[in-house]
Every structure is written in C-alpha cells, then in structure tokens.
Symmetry: C2
Subunit: 233 residues, 2 copies
DNA sequence: TGAATAGTGTCTATGAGACACTATTTG
DNA sequence: CAAATAGTGTCTCATAGACACTATTCA
C-alpha cells in the first residue's frame, strides 16, 4: 500500500524550570544552514517524527529530550497540536507540543555559541525572535502551566525529589507571581496528601531546621479541590 | 524541496449530544471495502488531512463536520493527539481528535444501513466494536467532558440558542449523572454572568411559565470558580 | 382550588485567607 | 538573648449545599 505525502509531523518541547527564583524556558538554536527554514534562529527543541526510530509520540518526546542532553525521565504531558499550511515554509506541517517540567539543576553550558540554552524572560517581547509559530506555542504552554498551578501539584515536578515546604511554596509563588499564605498552603497540601515527611531528615540553616518531604506519588500530579485565588468575588 | 513519507495524519471527531435525556455519540460506518482497514466497522467520524483542501486543522474539522451532514458551526475544541506505529495497520499514523458539542436536534436517519448514527450507550461494553483505537479516544473525550462540566458552561453548547434554566440544569445533571440543587445552580450561573433573560419570553406549559434565556457569549465557554461537587471532604 | 413547576430565602458547614502566635535552631 | 525561619492556632468571610418556602400558570 502506498503512502503518499501527508503533512510533516514533528514534536516540540516546551521545557520549563525554575532557576535562580525565576521561570526559565529551554530554547535550541537552529542550524546555520541556508537549506532549512529560519537558520540560526532560536526555537523550541524538538524533532520530526522518525517512523523508523520512534514507536510512538511519547517515545519521540523521550528521544528529543535525550537529543538535547536532558533526562528523559522528566515529567511531561501533551499540550496541544498545531497544524496548517502556513506555519512551515516547506508546506503543510503538524506539530504535537509537549509541556515538560524539569527539576532545576539540569545545567547547560551558558555560552554564546551554545546550541541549547535557558532563557529567563517569559514575556514575548523579552524572548529572542523565535522560528515558526513557537511564540504561540510558548504562550499556550504558559497559560496551561499557570492555570494548572492553581489547582494541581505540577510545581513539585520542578524540584528535586526531596524538598522543604518552604521551597515548594516558593515555586508556587514564582509561577503564580503572587504570595501565598503559609498556613493555607500547608493545610491544602496535607488535605490532598500530596507529600510525606522523610523521618528525621531536616534542612539545616541558621535557624530552626525544616522538615524535608517527598512526593507520595511521583508518577502523576494531584488535583486540589479548590484554587489559591484570593478574593474570588 | 522533497517531502518524504512522514506519518499519516487525520482528524477524528467525538461528537456528543443529549437526545431523549441521554448522552449520545455520533459514529460513522467505515466503507465495505476490503482495501481499507476495518471495513464495515463503526468508528469515529473523521478524515485524513487533505493538504490541498484544508488550510488548517480547524478547517479540516469543519470539512469533516460537513461531510457527515453536521452544521460546521458547532462548538468544538481540540482534545488531544494520538500517534504510534501500531494503531493503524497501514503504518505510523497520527490523529488529532476534537471534542464536538452538538445541540440536540441534529437528526440523522436512524436506519439499519445508515452510515452515520447516534449511539446512546456510553460504556465501552455497550458500544459496537470500534475501528482503530477509537474506544480510547472516546474514553478520553468522556473524561474531558465530565471534568469540564464540573466547572465550565460547556453543557450550554448542547442546547439550542434559547433555553430555560431547568433545561440547562437537566443537561448538567445528565452529564454529571447526579442531581444538582436548583438554588445553588442558579446562584452560580448568575454569579458567572453566563446567561441573560430574553425579555418577556416564556416557555408555556401546564404550570407557571419559565423564563427563557440565552448565552451572553456563544463564542467560548465560561469557567466557574468552583465545582458542583457535594461533600468535598 | 389543586397540581405542577418556576423561582427565592435562609441556615449551616466548610475551607481559604489573614494574621498573630509559638517553636527551634545558630551565633 | 537576638535573629531568623519553621510551624500552628484562631478568626472571619464567602459560598456551596440542603431545604423549605413563595409565585404563577393551567385544568
């Protein structure tokens, strides 16, 4: 049976991490090759589906993560798909975008000629000019992330496996761009049975040591029954 | 520039409607042609993307809706994408699935040899055997629909443009499979400014006439701040 | 006037938010 | 003991849910 030319299909990754108390996104530089679209521009990391190598979309995501030197065990979820005749100058193309959350600490060389780099600014204007419609995809990913932070445990996947509640709360606050009440935050966490303390393990500082916790279930996020919204009027 | 064989890409529709107080889903019969996979089986309506006809995924959705004789002005939103080497015997294939909500009344001939038909049973076992992984797609669509009914105005898109609050509440109750308190339901609707009354327009019956309402904004669903959940413990 | 459904008012329980308070460490 | 952060207790307010009540039509 013949397989005639359908659209191009690729997978693109929107990888977020909190670094130095700011939300960061991982971008990749496109090759300096005049034969590909947008040579030398920054773009989302991703790859065309290779029907020989990739058994599924998820396998393709893991391969793309390895390609950029990222652990392929990071949390990811499908974001959405984009497809039309205009977005790629080579013709009709479809992209399945994935939201990836990375524990801060996945380091990349931060040099001028690096092909993969963290970018801190999350407003469209502050980012470098991006290839294709990748700005739209990032906007969607930011909306998805900020919405789900309100009612899920997603931020826990942006921390190492062990953390204090203050550290977790800080990630929530960075993503939500507002302060959360400490007491309400803890009440909610415990009600959802999100975390469990690690016996006798404390973070030592120049003050009262903090209990260290881990997620009860690292395989999937938890949904809280309500939101953190103040003044829901 | 050459376009070598990527995966097949198609769009599939999960069309829901409430008919006779039950959730229904629209299925299409595959052609009786031994050269295509699953000849004669029921499946989700959909179509391969035609890069000549379709300017975008959304345009392809509207064409698919017209193909099955459905108004292409129905509410739809992208559900998710499925893609792997196994799901289509012809090889690697990708499908972008859409959730479509239809005002009940879009009639189809309900005859034995119809190619498109409403099916009322929503449990997997009660449906006819379906082609491809379409059972998985339907399960995802049901989960998405039931989740969003808890906190959005999606059910309003399954009614004609004018309706009474009792009618709207009934759609919620059918989708949620539980009763909702009338007073709480109305308080929530009005707080969200979801609907507006049509002056002096009433539904007449053998009792006190009911005010008829319309959506304030038919272009997109509204998100409620909380859910209808009773006994959130 | 009774049946039937539309529509409203009141009470309670719950949980988020605000905020003050106590606890435990180091220097 | 002071500084600093960890962790808890208490009060208030908003709102969902329960449920009873009133309103308006037709037969």
């Amino acid at each position: 049976m013949t397989r005639s030319g359908g659209p191009l299909v690729s997978v693109e990754l929107v990888v977020f991490s909190v670094i130095d108390e700011r939300l960061n996104i991982l971008l990749a530089r496109r090759p300096e090759d005049a034969k590909v679209p947008y040579p030398g521009l920054w773009s989302l990391p991703g790859t065309a589906i290779d029907i020989k190598k990739d058994a599924s979309l998820e396998a393709c995501v893991r391969r793309a993560l390895r390609t950029i030197g990222h652990p392929d065990t990071a949390y990811f979820e499908q974001l959405a798909s984009w497809g039309d005749a205009q977005r790629d100058p080579r013709g009709w193309s479809t992209t399945v975008a994935y939201l990836v959350l990375s524990a801060s600490g996945s380091a990349y060389p931060d040099t001028e000629d690096a092909t993969v780099r963290w970018f801190s600014p999350q407003s469209r204007k502050a980012r470098p000019r991006l290839a294709f419609d990748h700005d739209d995809i990032i906007e969607s990913a930011l909306i998805r992330l900020r919405n789900k932070v309100e009612y899920t445990s997603l931020p826990a996947f942006m921390l190492p496996t062990e953390f204090t509640l203050a550290e977790l709360q800080q990630v929530y606050e960075i993503l939500l761009e507002r302060k959360i009440d400490k007491s309400a935050f803890r009440t909610r966490l415990f009600a959802a049975e999100l975390v469990e303390p690690i016996a006798d393990k404390k973070r030592i500082g120049s003050n009262r040591p903090a209990q260290i916790y881990r997620l009860k279930n690292r395989s999937q996020p938890i949904f809280f029954p309500r939101t953190f919204n103040p003044n829901r009027s």
